[in-house]
């Protein structure tokens, strides 16, 4: 597969890993945060963790939109289905995330809720057109990669004057979350592997202020394992020479300014929320998007007068600490016993890119 296989070559990987091991200074600890859940997944799936020297650790970041979506927002969506009989269109990733009271979209569907898994936001438009007498709500989640498709769909729906369609917007932003993690200084982070596809949208410049303010090197890493290894080496070299810069390893896709057309579409249809609750990180200012006034008629929160719902997290679940990179999944009392992918207690165990799921599926009980 073009642009995939070449970036997964094993021999090159071993050479890169040998270089990393060789250049890691003895007596020095390297704590590198891979911000993006997709990178967490890659690190485990390809066994990159095992190729690293003992003094280099990956600290898992909050870049998993499923993991940081507050349970209350899922509860609110279930309420829409059960009280307003809407057709709720969602990406499959959200289906089994625990909401409140041991509930989930999956369970609500089993109870008869009309919840449909879609691959693309445009599929939700199709469902709305095919069911003119039903209200259709698109449960929009994701960081900046997944936001432009929502913006596109808002524009299309507006132009079509689609009356039975609305969007429940939960889009969140990467640089504020990154700044929050670095600001809290709960855990020492020596460098950050920046997200691949978020960066293709927002551009490498978007990380400049974070890098400067917290004096932390950031390397925007491609999605494939060789990209991750090469970026790790680039971070190592910055750290060893006392530099802190934004470097772009994923040049085949990421530019300094990003995808300006996508950004314009987002600006046109969405606007910043003052505050937004992030599961595990608390309420962050200027960190999430809502639908702009000009498209208010497509805003599910307004159409259905949706209220915030407080949900108590599972006692013993340490997803918040895992998301902030403060704890590893196996430090959690529930990990692997009470909390498993079959019966998850927290979002980090459900999402395929949650750190807990990665630890459980790929890395537990190493022989």
């Amino acid at each position: 597969m073009k642009y995939l296989d070449e970036f997964r070559d094993g021999a090159t990987a071993r050479a890169l890993a040998a270089t990393i091991r060789n250049e890691a200074l003895t007596g020095r600890e390297y704590r590198l945060m891979e911000f993006c859940g997709g990178h967490t997944h890659a690190i485990f799936r390809y066994g990159i963790k095992d190729l690293m020297p003992a003094n280099l650790r990956f600290v898992h970041g909050p870049g998993c939109p499923v993991c940081v979506l507050p349970a209350g927002r899922i509860e609110a969506a279930i309420k829409l289905v059960e009280e307003h009989q809407v057709i709720l269109c969602t990406y499959a990733d959200l289906m089994r995330v625990p909401a409140g009271k041991k509930d989930s979209l999956h369970k609500a569907k089993a109870r008869g809720g009309d919840i449909r898994m879609i691959y693309s936001a445009t599929d939700a438009l199709g469902i709305a057109q095919a069911n003119p007498d039903r209200q259709v709500v698109f449960f929009a989640i994701g960081f900046e990669t997944t936001t432009p498709p929502t913006a596109a769909v808002l524009k299309i729906a507006h132009a079509m004057e689609l009356k039975n369609f609305s969007v429940y917007c939960n889009h969140v932003l990467t640089p504020p979350a990154m700044a929050h993690i670095l600001d809290s200084a709960e855990t020492q982070i020596d460098g950050i592997l920046g997200p691949s596809h978020v960066s293709s949208v927002i551009g490498s410049c978007a990380y400049a202020s974070c890098c400067k303010q917290y004096k932390t090197p950031i390397v925007i890493a491609g999605f494939e394992p060789l990209d991750v290894l090469a970026s790790t080496l680039m971070l190592l070299r910055q750290i060893n020479t006392g530099r802190h810069e934004v470097e772009n390893q994923y040049t085949r896709v990421v530019s300094s300014t990003g995808n300006e057309k996508a950004q314009a579409l987002m600006r046109d249809t969405l606007v910043m929320r003052a505050l937004f609750e992030w599961r595990g990180l608390g309420r962050l200012p200027d960190s999430a998007m809502q639908i702009r006034g000009t498209y208010a008629d497509l805003d599910a929160e307004k159409r259905f007068a949706m209220q915030d719902i407080e949900v108590a997290e599972n006692k013993g679940c340490i997803c918040p600490a895992v998301l902030r990179g403060v704890s590893d999944p196996d430090a959690c009392k529930l990990f692997g016993t009470v909390c498993t992918p079959e019966d998850p207690k927290g979002a980090c165990m459900v999402s395929s890119e949650g750190a807990c799921a990665a630890y459980y599926s790929y890395g537990r009980r190493r022989a």
């Binding site: 859940g37 498709p149 997200p195 090469a230 085949r252």
Partner: protein, 75 residues
Amino acid sequence: MCLAVPARIISLDSAANMAVVDLDGIRKETSTMLLDSVKVGDYVLLHVGFALEVINPDEAERTLAIFAEMRADAP
């Protein structure tokens, strides 16, 4: 955090902002609404039914060359 795969554009419907892409024999319709310009034969990053960005073949080659260099320099 976002699964995006490289796929090759095999046909375009510019008026509708749509394209058909090919990924090893799999064909899928995708929106090109997020791209300024794209042509048949380009490789794009496909994410939730949208082409997010065109993959720059020269930069891809450069990256592979960098890997090759790193590999040659490895201990």
